[in-house]
Symmetry: C2
Subunit: 196 residues, 2 copies
Amino acid sequence: MPIRLPLVEDEPQERRDAARNREALLAAAQSLIAECGVGSITMEAVAARAGVGKGTVFRRFESREGLMAAVLDRSETAFQAAILSGSPPLGPGAEPMDRLLAFGHARIELNLLHRALISAAGRAGSRSYAAVSFTAMHVRYLLGELGVRGDIAFLATALLAPLEVPILEQQVEIESMHLPRITQAWDDLVRRVVAG
Amino acid sequence: MPIRLPLVEDEPQERRDAARNREALLAAAQSLIAECGVGSITMEAVAARAGVGKGTVFRRFESREGLMAAVLDRSETAFQAAILSGSPPLGPGAEPMDRLLAFGHARIELNLLHRALISAAGRAGSRSYAAVSFTAMHVRYLLGELGVRGDIAFLATALLAPLEVPILEQQVEIESMHLPRITQAWDDLVRRVVAG
DNA sequence: GGTGAAACGGACCGTGGTCCGGTTTCATTC
DNA sequence: GAATGAAACCGGACCACGGTCCGTTTCACC
């Protein structure tokens, strides 16, 4: 029997039933979302499908937003992996400008694809510390590589802000903009910002 | 007795009791918000203070968001008036660039000031058709005056997006940016976009 | 198998939102 | 200026769902 060494990132140690329940809950949530849509699933339904009590759901995920954020996390992780170690131009190896534009296009499509889930995740979701951090850091890094002068942290935020779900939704639904126009206009914005 | 001519903007005619109740509800909401904060007031409390039933609140304002949006509307109207007919540089008379920068600064401060209310108003609030329309139209107009080429509708949105409450909150609370830095960085963004 | 800590579950609560029978208001008519 | 009828409004009981609480059960370790 292996002795459990207390490593650096040794979290408070998740019990086996807890881990099983978390997996069951995530799977239940995912399948229910696929069936009924994000908006019309209830926490009680998720708990029932996972075969646990409602209290357990809130113990694991804090809130509805927390659960949604956890579900969202899977695809978001894949996206991060594509950036960190995927193929160019999204991944490393391409010119910074190409990477930046590729990033924007991917982000737009992803945000539109998961907009219901992202909205439901609210502040716990892509806006959460880790996700914002990663996304913002990546854009900041690319802006740095491009030799952009000025308040890079704010400029990164400014480039990302129009890609956020509420704004994208407004463009698509109220202004009747379509995807090609948005991506093209965003490219133009990037070039203006980079050109300085 | 004056004959009621069917004017162009003749709405379905609000009954006197309905008007009275709407005023009472708005006043009640405003005072309750001032006392307890936006987050902790309930629709029932607003109804009680206004001396009406809960059903009436929802009849008049559709939803919690709708009520918040209605409360917000007052200061928002004043802001619009300041732009349309106030003194420069916010109002007409100044150079377009000065007006644009003044607009941004005012918008930032207003969004931070009313952030709780704006968030509570959600999609029914400053994001609503009329408000977005006005704000976006004004920025588009100024960009046009400045001779900016390109997709002006998108560029206006892109300039406005980083001023939205969730992003502003993120900057202030997580990134620890302070107001002067934000306004200065936004000015820089504007100049880059206008310079093309 | 004993023990303490952690997780479980479902009854319970508060609040946003709906519904519908009763009431008020207002234009019209006399 | 009183009667009238119908549309609009009112109110509070009611519902659904997110979130909490706490007695009970399970787990990991000894």
